[in-house]
Subunit: 96 residues, 10 copies
């Protein structure tokens, strides 16, 4: 089941640079584990912004919330979730 | 080069049903040709709305505008384009 | 899997009253069938507005989109869908 | 009498973690007491956000304000209240 | 129980003037009946707009919705309802 | 001359509790003096928010600004003023 | 007593050109009468828009509403009124 | 003197195609005359929208309003004007 | 050449009172010098807000930016500039 | 390939003045290097705001993101990117 997610990161200006590097590194590892597990099939940077558009592929709303609220940067993010359905023009869904 | 596009369709209430069916069929064919050509790799329906999130893969801004303004439903759509870049956490981009 | 849905109905001022009554009656029957089937457990009127807040309980995003896009009033509605998860303070979810 | 409430929690980034845990624990107890008393029949987490949609069942506007302004997290919340009425399609209200 | 209501009237430009006068006259009679009954204690014109701020005093949310949805101009209005509680500084509420 | 005013209070999270109590007490006294003088005939709490809707009855715009900018909480408030006129359906204004 | 008013004119696309010219001519005469009477001391065109910023000098909110609701273009306008007070830095108000 | 202008065109769905072609052709000629005269040095299409960003170089606000309100598509446009100044980092302005 | 400017002042809550008084005094002197020079012909207080509407009369966009960015309170302000043109109904512009 | 970019700078009120001067100087040098390289052909100040409108000419979305995220002021900016296409009325594009 697919979800479209926009994440905007707002780090406080006075965050300690080492703490910042450490949390961003953990965020990257967390994201890549989920990508490898097939839960987070797409992540794109929004040009010019500290933000991304992502696609998640999960079993349930609860699983998606566990994943998102577990993001190391969660408390610094504004997140907007949109549920997706198959589009009738999608050639990958033909015959399904 | 990737772009994120949101399209909202607003068909007038008094549109003739046959004209509507005909234009929607042309829209589908137009979209599927571009999907097969690799220009429109993803299209998802926004749940509960006559809208979609799409990803386009084109050579230039001008090519994207030619594609979008050529949509049979173009004059009935509100379209919002966001340029995308590679995300540093994307495992598909590692090593690139 | 639960979803929160807000529906705002915008009927055109010049809609024929009999057509209006007929479509509203079909909407009611459609809604009540889904309520009886357990798919639409809650529906409330927003005071002073031709709008409702509803809760849907479905198997997937695709099922929800089929239900919503099948509403007799769908083409006259603005619909906003929000996925819901279990709240950690919910006493009904304790021990689950 | 039913009310729809959306609560968004905005904890300051520099809140002491123990103080945070203590206030969140008090919030949970406060909410569960009201749930058991039938005043707060539903609470759902908004996926991906530190927010909830809730339904309250109270005797009056004043009772609702006392409950909401007494929330341990009240001063950190943005709250939006919408009064609800019986929906004419609600099967639970038939014959009432 | 008090509610604050803002009503914005949007009459279609092509409404027949006699129909307009007739519906506005019915709206006035409907409003004045409720004012005399104590249900609609205040109504003020917003300067420069075809809009009003009103205060309603009703037994329940359902009663308020019946009153508002019964307004002759209801289908031409945008209505926004806000529940009110006693303010702790209100001298009229002292000792209550 | 009547004005509709919405006031939203935003106290900083780190305000000293005693300072907070003192300023709120001064605000209450200030408001009640104006209520007794007939300048501030109505004040209602917005349910669930640290906000009020008020009606002021003053001689001029300048008098209203002096009153509002003199509020002890003024520097912590967002204030929105709307001038009011007699509504043609108001039974209290009949014959005036 | 001064008020700041923004007026945006939205003429329907299918308005008869002669009717349009006639109503715009009446609007101009109405405005110039009020300018000569000192009630409407300033009117400026917003560059690139069918809109104006105006300053009115009236005795009361009711007088302002009578003037604005009497504008020949009133039913085609969106109007926003802001009450003005003397600014403490205004050299014209020094010593007053 | 430079101004940044965004123009969004909203043609009515029922506009006669020949009338549409004729007005668009006049718009193009009007624009190109001003480009050749140096008054309209830049015009870019916003990708995916029937809109443009333009730069105008004029003597005064009044000249800009005359140009914009004379656009053949003016009554179908939403226009937003932003005055521009020399940027202190602009290498073309160095030494000026 | 006239410009309409709205300025909203947002002073930080922890600004030293003496620093505040000093900067506000400088702002007043700066404004009054420009008023006397005819560059800033009007300034009005927005009732209930720490904001003003002003009219500037300058030679160019660059002159206006120099004036506004030189305001002692500039870094604490949100400023919105709108270029103005002569209104065709303005009696002061007749015959010009 | 052209992009329209709006940048709004929000420097924290408590930024050390020397640090501020140093970062602004680096920003200027960075911008001018890109202007000389033809990557950043236009930059204009928005009158009255600490903001600019810019045009970038780059090979790809990724190049644009590298440039923007490398701005010394990047973490203090809100940036909005709009892709541009050739406008059919642009005389510079005729025959291309």
């Amino acid at each position: 089941m697919l979800f479209h997610v926009r994440m905007d990161v707002r780090l406080p200006a006075d965050l300690d640079p080492r703490e910042r590097d450490e949390i961003v590194a953990r965020e990257k590892a967390y994201s890549q584990d989920l990508q490898r597990a097939g839960k987070w099939p797409h992540i794109w940077r929004v040009v010019g912004e500290y933000a991304n558009f992502s696609i998640f592929d999960v079993e349930s709303n609860d699983e998606l919330h566990r994943i998102l609220s577990g993001l190391p940067l969660f408390s610094y993010m504004e997140i907007q979730v949109t549920p997706l359905a198959v589009h009738p023009s999608d050639i990958k869904a033909e015959g399904s």
